[in-house]
Symmetry: C2
Subunit: 395 residues, 2 copies
Amino acid sequence: MLMNYARLFAGMKTQKLDAIVATMPENVTYASGFWAMSQWIRRGPQAYVLTPAEGRGESAVIASTGLIDLVTHPDVWVKDIRRFGKFIVDRTPDISLDAHDSRIETLLAQADDGEAVAALVRAIKDRGLDRARIGVDEIGILPQYWDKLAESLPNATLVRAADVFRYARAIKTPEEIARLRRSAQIADMSISAALAVAREGATEMDLARAFHAKTINEGGYPVLGCIGVGPRSAMTNVQPSEQVMHAGDIIRFDVGGRYNHYRADIARNAVIGEPSAKVKTYHRAICAGLDRAIGMIKPGVRVADVFHAAVNTVRQEGIPHYQRSHVGHGIGLDGYDAPNIAPSNDDVFEEDMVICVETPYYEMGLGGLQVEDTMAVTRDGVDSFMLSSTELRIL
Amino acid sequence: MLMNYARLFAGMKTQKLDAIVATMPENVTYASGFWAMSQWIRRGPQAYVLTPAEGRGESAVIASTGLIDLVTHPDVWVKDIRRFGKFIVDRTPDISLDAHDSRIETLLAQADDGEAVAALVRAIKDRGLDRARIGVDEIGILPQYWDKLAESLPNATLVRAADVFRYARAIKTPEEIARLRRSAQIADMSISAALAVAREGATEMDLARAFHAKTINEGGYPVLGCIGVGPRSAMTNVQPSEQVMHAGDIIRFDVGGRYNHYRADIARNAVIGEPSAKVKTYHRAICAGLDRAIGMIKPGVRVADVFHAAVNTVRQEGIPHYQRSHVGHGIGLDGYDAPNIAPSNDDVFEEDMVICVETPYYEMGLGGLQVEDTMAVTRDGVDSFMLSSTELRIL
């Protein structure tokens, strides 16, 4: 189970919601297990999951008929499927279908609801929620569909509720932690694979090809691939080019794909040949800041306190002018889940958060130095997902 | 140049727009060349491009400071950059920066606008457009940001305008056609790479790994990877599994990544060993339907007529019960640009459309058969991007 129902229900209670509707791909997958491919790879396709408040009825998934094979996938735990739109799937006469295909056949035999909002409205009415206070994740639903929903439910109160999902997603379930661990480890192994081809004369693209090939070989999917060498490594979002590596060049990885839909985001550095004294000092400083942050994190510790400790440690240990707007963030189906580890954040760490902690430093002319680890918050500290150390690798 | 300014201006004129604002990642890239990474890989991050109507002023890009290295990329042709938010990039003292880094330094030295809507509002006011009729792509802007924009411009009229971009994007520029051709050809070569490892005992995942590795090696990025064997190939959105291939199995590819941000979407079939007579007949029928469609397409031909001709040909040539809701679609930055080749579409084909034409057939119990080609519409026909034929490959 991906969704933390207890946490979602608590968030809904705070907002006095009788039901909540997921509309953006991350929340649709989160609330049902349904990977609605078309909305993941495009903007606009609609898929929804209706989750009534505790004790108010079962969840329902609203899916385009064209996604019927994905909404019947064994990972989808919501049983009430409402489909909309025409899509033709035939079947060989006079043969018996397996359980999965039989379920598709049954669903296709039912009348569809024409379009997405009509299907959602029927699911809401079937649960007696048409006068309810309904939270709607405002990020994935098209504005004209929101309008149609409001018109179709004149006695309901619709409120924007993407933040309730964000609140729920911050505390991971065991299945989410397992996927995130694997995702981070695939990224970590992919950095090692890229470093195996790093040498003078190789290009950023050579590293990127080795990186992504390893990600794919391990069952992951490429997403974030910022890999830069030399001064280009100072570009925050550096996209691999034909830039050739030279002796003394910094290599910066800020990378991570998806595994079973869950994101990775880690960072490491290497140098071709002997690093300069400045690079060694600066890298030690960012590692010290990272270690300080990680050493502090446990349930109840203030997020802002960790931010300040990390930044101050980097300053004391060798980059006196170090400044940051955050030193990390949660991670899950979204690459930036709560909490944002920033000075303005009054929240505390909680058990089963999964977080990326990072102390990047970008200097035009020199390059970029960045270490970023991913870990789960445990009862009394953290459980790191990393396979490699943060040390500056000398190639 | 990616954007077809003449077509956009024509679409704006029809809607009486004095300016238009791109907000979803596809439209932001389209209107400026700016690949706003964070909004491509997540939902919520805001980036905008303001394009005044012809003769009403230059365009402006509104970008998070954290994306400063991407918004200054040489592919971005819009020169007025408005940044928002805090992000720290240092520079080595006493060295000279190259032109790109100097530009970053200059932009960072200017005051930022705090947040996205404030930056957009200032760009609008600077152009004297604060009493104008402004089209806003409603898909990428968060609803609360739309509200803030409306409050900040009480004398302007805001109208939803994603469809104006969709209209413009339908007719490609030469740069777009070049990228789409390469993207389709990478997908085509990747199918060949996957088929090179296809044999009894290999798995869907083996094919997928070979497919994506080739895509990456050619400089593409994986997106769509529906690869299924045997009865699983009938699943429209089949995701590669550990399913093993057996003699007689159909292999269906419905695949395509991105190259330089532009999508591919093509389909091919193979069979392990000798196909059944039914499979041979059905595959010939869908190829005949595809050929019929492609043979008809040229500027001025009605889209709906091509739909009916394709479906009727497949029926006549061997699948009498064949039904479809569409037989293809445009392709560009979005995998489904206009036109949708559907019976209800009253539009005609136009020169420089880039389209995917497809005649898929899904039969539970048998498998999925699908041929899909990508091509540009030329003055008197089509220019196919494909390297391989649609023939059923016997392995």
